[in-house]
């Protein structure tokens, strides 16, 4: 499909946003005094030259919390995306390539899973597992794979039915060989694009979970900042500087990855148009 956006512009915008976040993460590793004042006893003091983004309910520098939060959000975004993409790819390839009853079962399982509202289920799971970094990653990773699985499965089926795979069996290639050497490289484009999109989703999901109060209190993320702003009265105080910046960061980061992923997807689609018509 020809993209509405010119892919290069799209990807440039995405890459710029992603780089901005990576820069934030990098800055967060500098010694604390470098990027924010460490002492400020006044809660809810508005932005000033000492506290560029003001302070929050306990007098913490918002910029500092924001920079530290970038690590958590991005890290969970990546880890959650890795787990879900690996599961989705394995399920998708297995179902699409084995075909028959395996495909039937895995395929309808995937379709069913898609129907379950993901965030509420994640909330329940996370509430049971308890608040920790790893649990958030697990909950997102274990529940966000069906879309990937569905796309990979469709692609793997296409490849499985294509002439060159039939020919490969003809010259004596084994199934595992074909999966590893031929199916994987051909689904790789889908997988990569899905991965980038999954990073975006993971960041949003993590923010949602943290907003509802299920994030790791030891590692406050951007979503957690919104949670505190909501529950501890920053909104009612009109302390906009405590919740406007994290919201912008969440939106920009997820937008950046979405743009990047969409660019990759449309590029990939136009490149494989002819193979798409094999099956």
């Amino acid at each position: 499909m020809k993209s509405v956006y010119s892919p290069t512009k799209l990807e440039t915008a995405g890459i710029t946003a992603v780089f901005a976040v990576i820069t934030m993460v990098a800055i967060s590793f500098f010694p604390e005094g470098w990027f924010a004042s460490t002492s400020s006893p006044m809660p809810y003091s508005p932005p000033s030259s000492t506290n560029l983004l003001g302070t929050n309910d306990i007098g913490d520098d918002v910029l500092r919390v924001l920079l530290m939060g970038s690590r958590v959000s991005l890290f969970i975004g990546f880890l959650g995306a890795i787990v879900s993409t690996v599961i989705g790819t394995l399920v998708g390839i297995f179902a699409g390539f084995m075909g028959g009853i395996v495909d039937e079962v895995l395929g309808s399982f995937t379709d069913l899973f898609l129907v379950v509202p993901a965030l509420p289920l994640m909330i329940v799971m996370a509430a049971y597992l308890g608040q920790s970094f790893l649990n958030v990653v697990l909950v997102i990773g274990l529940l966000w794979w069906p879309t990937t699985a569905r796309l990979v499965r469709a692609r793997a089926r296409q490849i499985r039915g294509s002439q060159f795979v039939e020919g490969l069996f003809g010259i004596g290639a084994g199934k595992l060989y074909v999966v590893i050497r031929h199916v994987l490289p051909n689904v790789w484009g889908v997988v990569l694009a899905r991965f980038v999109l999954a990073v975006s989703s993971s960041i949003l999901l993590e923010a949602g979970l943290s907003f509802i109060g299920l994030g790791d209190p030891q590692n406050p993320s951007w979503g957690m900042m919104l949670h505190f702003a909501m529950t501890r009265g920053a909104l009612l105080h009109g302390a906009w500087w405590t919740f406007v910046p994290p919201g912008i960061c969440i939106s920009l980061t997820s937008l950046g990855f979405i743009l990047l992923g969409m660019g990759m997807e449309s590029r990939y689609r136009s490149r494989t148009r002819s193979i798409g018509e094999i099956g």
């Binding site: 060159f164 490969l168 003809g170 010259i171 004596g172």
Partner: protein, 321 residues
């Protein structure tokens, strides 16, 4: 190619030293079932053998089951009934080693070259792949040497080998597919309309390349085509397919000089005749045949053998009216 004694009606052809049967199928049928309902009999009781070194052409109109037959002979799809033999053994009961041997010695070239190679692989790797699967080269250098020599035979430069399928022309891709099938030094090449997607001059060049390679290396070719002129020029023997059956076979010379089946003669003369159409007539040519009789509609004509390698499925030849 045929010896001149046409006296005996031998059912089993004695394997003469130079002409031993490599692949043979007996009474194979292939029925495709559709997910919704119904099914389609694409190949309907075909027996055919490919002998060492010969060039056998299969001609027939679109949908007559040529591709299906070719794939069955190459072991790519399982027939619904009937069996395929390789060097005298049914291919379903080959053991691992024999199966590998079969997949090395019998090479299939699909109808559409643009779908024959993995689009994400470099052409070089695709050509070298059969060697790797069969561990035919001990080192990278040896592999390069073999790939180079088969590619050179089909006029492919190393530069073209370094591209992916989408970056070469259809003719070049077809040659790459040929080079790949030649890499294992096969004994049978099953080529399914290898030239149908190309322009006439490229067609001629590719056919030339196949014939040269065949003369030099001595493999047998099953050449599927619907190009009558081509079949006449290149083949030793010819099978004519219609509606999933072989309705006539014989040496190329005989078929072209004196076609026996009304369908074959209509192919050559280009004349058509349209009678009332009957959906499930026993003879697939029934509704277009100007010589048809009642029996043609009701019972399938058996194969009437005339001479040692000549057969036709037409009631007109078996039973004078």
């Amino acid at each position: 190619m045929m010896r001149s004694d046409l006296s005996g009606h031998l059912t089993e052809v004695q394997p003469s030293p130079g002409r031993q049967t490599l692949i043979e199928c007996r009474e194979v049928k292939k029925r495709f079932r559709y997910a919704t309902k119904g099914s389609f009999l694409a190949v309907d009781g075909v027996s055919l053998s490919i002998k060492r070194g010969e060039l056998l052409a299969v001609i027939g109109e679109s949908g007559s089951g040529k591709t299906t037959l070719a794939k069955i002979m190459a072991g790519l799809i399982q027939p619904t009934s009937g069996r395929v033999f390789f060097e005298g053994k049914p291919i379903t009961s080959l053991d691992r080693r024999e199966r590998l041997n079969f997949s090395r010695k019998v090479q299939y070239i699909p109808q559409y070259p643009d779908l024959a190679l993995d689009p994400s692989w470099y052409i070089y790797d695709s050509i070298a792949e059969p060697l790797r699967i069969h561990r035919m080269s001990s080192s990278r250098e040896e592999e390069l040497k073999i790939v180079r020599s088969v590619s050179a035979r089909f006029g492919l430069s190393l530069d073209q080998l370094r591209r992916k399928p989408r970056d070469v022309s259809g003719g070049e891709l077809q040659r790459a597919v040929l080079a790949r099938s030649m890499a294992l030094n096969p004994e049978v090449l099953i080529a399914d309309e290898p030239t149908s997607m190309l322009d006439p001059s490229t067609q001629a060049r590719i056919v030339r390349l196949i014939l040269d390679a065949q003369r030099e290396l001595g493999f047998a070719v099953l050449f599927v085509t619907h190009d009558l002129q081509l079949a006449r020029v290149i083949s030793d023997s010819v099978c004519v397919m219609l509606g999933g059956k072989i309705i006539e076979f014989g040496s190329a010379q005989e078929i072209f000089s004196s076609p026996l089946h009304p369908y074959t003669s209509s192919l050559f003369s280009g004349s058509t005749f349209a009678g009332e159409t009957k959906d499930n007539a026993a003879c697939p040519f029934y509704s277009q045949c100007n010589l048809r009789a009642e029996i043609c509609c009701n019972s399938t004509p058996p194969e009437f053998n005339i001479g040692r390698f000549r057969g036709v499925r037409c009631w007109n030849l078996g039973q004078p009216h």
